[in-house]
Amino acid sequence: MKVELQKGNYTANPFVFRKAVVVNKVEEAPGIYTYFLKFDGEFKILPGQFNMLYVYGLGEVPISLSNLPIFRNGYTLLEHTVRVMGAVTKAITLGLGIGSFIGIRGPYGNGWPLKDAEGRDITIVGGGIGIAPLRPIIKYVELEREKFGRMNILLGARTPRDMPYKYELDKYGAILNTKLLLSSDTPADGWVHHVGFVTDLINNIDVNIKNSVVFVCGPEVMMRVAVKKLLGRGFRKEDIYLSLERRMRCGIGVCGTCQFGHYFVCRDGPVFRYSDIEDYLWVEGI
C-alpha cells in the first residue's frame, strides 16, 4: 500500500464538526484507550496533526492522530489514543463504547515534516501518551521504507504496564534498518530493557547525526531534557522537532488560549522546530 500525505482543510464554519461513530475501542494501558472513529466522506490528515473531539454537553479536547488514516468505500477511519485526564477525556473513556457517537472536527496544526525527512535518518523519542502522535510516523516509514534512512525508536513509560501499543512494539523493532530502544522509569519483573528515563537512551542513538531529524513528544520536562541531550550529542537545533500541548479551545487560532510565546500552538504547531522556539522553551510559564 502506498500512502499519500495531504494536508486537509476545514469547512466554512470552522466550529461545525462531523458526527463519527466509535467502531472499536482498545485498552492500551491503564487509563489509555485507542478509539477507532468512522464517518462518511474523505478526510485528509497528516501525522502530527490533531482533531478536536467533542462530547455532547461537555466540550472538546484536542487529540492527535495516532495511526495513518484509512479512506475507503466512501468512509474515513481514524485512530485517536486518549488518556483519562479531565472531564471530557473521562466522559470519552468511561461513557463511549462501540456504537457511540462523537463529534470530530479538524484536522488542525501543521504535522511532522515527513517530506523534509526523506533521505535522512530518523530518530523518534516518545514518552508515555506522547508516543501516540509519533506512532503514525513509524507506520508511515514502515510503508515507505526506501524513502528514509536508518530509524531509531526510543520509547519510555513510567512502568512497563503504562507503555501504549505493547502488542506491536516487536513489529517496530522488526522494521528494516530500525533500532528499537525501550525504557521504564521503574523496574519491573521481566523487564529486560533500560530502567530509567527514555532520555537516557539518547546516548545509544545510532544514526548519522549530520543527516537526520529527530521527532520528540512527551511531557515538557522530558522534552527539555531530550533537547539538551540531543544537542550534546551534536544534533543541530534545526533538526529537532517537538510536539507541544497547551490549553486549547478552538484549534484555529482565534480563542488565544494556546499561546506559547508569540505562537498559537494549534495553528503554528503543535510541531515546532527547536530552533524556532529556543527563546521560549526554557522560560517557565511563557
Binding site: V16, F17, G57, T89, R246, V254, C255, G256, H262
Partner: protein, 403 residues
C-alpha cells in the same frame, strides 16, 4: 492669511518626530516643507459645525445607508459604556470623566470624556456569544442570527485602531467576529483633544487623531464647536450634503495646537516602544522582575475585559431543553483558568500571566498582526481595582530599576 499655512508656524510648536506618529502629521509636515499643499491651502479639508450638525450628519448617513443601528458611547450607571444608542444625542456632551489608576468618576464640570469602560470589542466579540447549537444526536442546529447594518458613532481613534488589531487576529477566522465586523457600514470617529490622565495613545501611534479607516471624524474644539473631516468618499458626500462650512483659520490653528499639546503630554508617559521591546526581550525570563511588578495584581482579569484588543475566549457547553449550546466567553489571561489543563497548569504563577499580558501587547502582537497590540487607551489602568499601572511596569523595564 489663507495661503500661509498655520501648520507651518505650528511646526515650531510640534516636534517632527511626534507628529510623524499620527499619520495626519505626515501631511502637516509635507505642507510646511512643500509650501503648496492641497490640505492646507484648503484649510486641511476641515469643516466646522455644531453638535446639532453632527446630528444632521448622522441622520444623512442613516438615510443613505438604509436600516442601520447606531452604536457608540453612552451613559450607563455613572459610567460610560459602549452600546446601542437610540439616537446620536445619547453621546455624553455635558460631563467630563476623571480617570486615574483604579479610579473613574463622572464630573459635571467640563464637557469632554475620554472613553468608556467597554470598547467596540463588546459588539464585535460579545462577552458571551453563541458558537453552535448541538442536539443530543450530535446534529448541528443552525443558528438563525439575522444580519444587520451598524454605524459606529463617535468611537475614539484608539478604539478604531484596536479594531484593526482584532481584524488581524479574528477577521475571516472567527465566524461571530467576521459577521459582526462586516455589519459595520460606516464609522464616525471622535478625536480626543484633551487626553485623560491614564491615556498614552500617541506613544503607541493610536491617536489622538486619525488618518485612515473612518468615514467621518470630528473633534470638539470648544463646547459646541466641532471640526469635521472626511476619510472616505461616503464621508465626503455626507459632509457636503450637510452643508458644513469650511473651517476658518482660527479653528485650524486651535485644532492643531490642541493636537500638539495632547501629543506632547502623552508621549512622555511611556518609554519609546522600540526601547520597551528591546528591554522586554532581555527581561523575558527575569522572574524576580515580573514578580515584583505584578505584586499588586490580584488576577481578576478586569484589564483583559476592558482592553479593546484582548480577544481570548473560552468555549463552554450549556445544556438546555435537549440541546447543548456552545457558548464562547471572554477569558482573561490574568485569571487563574488561563493555561489550566486537566493534567496541570501551564501558567500557574500569577507573574507568568501578568507577563503574558505585557509581552503579548508589545512583543507578540507585532509578530502576530504586525503592530503593537496596545492602543494606549489606559482602560487597564483605570479599571484595575488595585490601580496597577501598566505604564509603571513599562517604565521600570527600560530604567532597569526595581522599585
Amino acid at each position: 492669511m489663507d495661503n500661509e499655512c498655520y501648520l507651518h508656524k505650528a511646526k515650531y510648536v510640534m516636534l517632527e518626530t511626534r507628529l510623524l506618529n499620527t499619520g495626519l502629521a505626515k501631511k502637516v509636515w509635507s505642507c510646511s516643507t512643500m509650501n503648496t499643499n492641497e490640505l492646507c491651502g484648503n484649510n486641511c479639508n476641515l469643516f466646522v459645525g455644531s453638535f446639532k450638525d453632527l446630528g444632521t450628519v448622522v441622520k444623512l448617513l442613516q438615510e443613505g445607508l438604509g436600516d442601520v443601528r447606531l452604536f457608540g458611547y453612552k451613559f450607563h450607571k455613572d459610567r460610560i459604556e459602549f452600546g446601542e444608542m437610540k439616537d446620536f444625542d445619547e453621546i455624553p456632551t455635558t460631563v467630563a470623566d476623571i480617570q486615574k489608576p483604579g479610579y473613574f468618576r463622572i464630573s459635571s464640570t467640563g464637557y469632554r470624556f475620554r472613553h468608556s469602560f467597554s470598547s467596540p470589542k463588546a459588539f464585535l466579540l460579545p462577552p458571551e456569544h453563541s458558537i453552535l447549537t448541538v442536539s443530543q444526536g450530535y446534529e448541528i442546529v443552525e443558528d438563525g442570527d439575522g444580519q444587520m447594518g451598524v454605524v459606529f458613532l463617535g468611537i475614539k481613534p484608539c478604539d478604531r485602531k484596536a479594531m484593526s488589531i482584532l481584524d488581524g487576529i479574528l477577521y475571516g477566522k472567527s465566524p461571530v467576529y467576521t459577521k459582526r465586523r462586516d455589519s459595520i457600514k460606516a464609522i464616525i470617529v471622535e478625536e480626543c483633544l484633551e487626553p485623560g490622565e491614564t491615556c498614552f495613545c500617541s506613544a503607541v501611534k493610536a491617536g489622538p487623531t486619525i488618518s485612515s479607516g473612518f468615514d467621518i471624524a470630528y473633534a470638539r474644539l470648544y463646547k459646541d464647536t466641532l471640526v469635521f473631516k472626511y476619510g472616505s468618499s461616503l464621508g465626503e458626500k455626507i459632509l457636503v450634503k450637510a452643508g458644513l462650512q469650511k473651517a476658518q483659520d482660527s479653528h485650524v490653528k486651535a485644532y492643531f495646537e490642541m493636537v500638539a499639546n495632547a501629543i506632547s503630554m502623552m508621549n512622555s508617559r511611556i518609554s519609546r516602544v522600540e526601547e520597551l521591546q528591546k528591554a522586554l526581550k532581555e527581561r523575558i525570563g527575569d522572574k524576580s522582575f515580573w514578580e515584583k511588578v505584578s505584586s499588586n495584581c490580584v488576577g481578576c482579569g478586569n484589564c483583559n475585559y476592558v482592553c479593546p484588543t484582548c480577544f481570548c475566549t473560552e468555549i463552554n457547553d450549556i445544556v438546555e431543553e435537549g440541546y447543548s449550546k456552545r457558548i464562547g466567553m471572554w477569558l482573561g489571561c490574568l485569571t487563574y483558568t488561563y493555561g489550566l489543563v486537566a493534567g496541570g497548569h501551564f501558567r500557574q504563577e500569577l507573574y507568568t500571566r501578568y507577563r503574558h499580558f505585557v509581552l503579548h501587547k508589545f512583543l507578540f502582537y507585532p509578530k502576530q498582526v504586525g503592530d503593537v497590540g496596545c492602543v494606549g487607551c489606559g482602560r487597564c489602568i483605570t479599571w484595575c481595582p488595585l490601580g496597577v499601572d501598566l505604564r509603571d511596569t513599562l517604565n521600570l523595564l527600560v530604567e532597569g530599576g526595581t522599585r
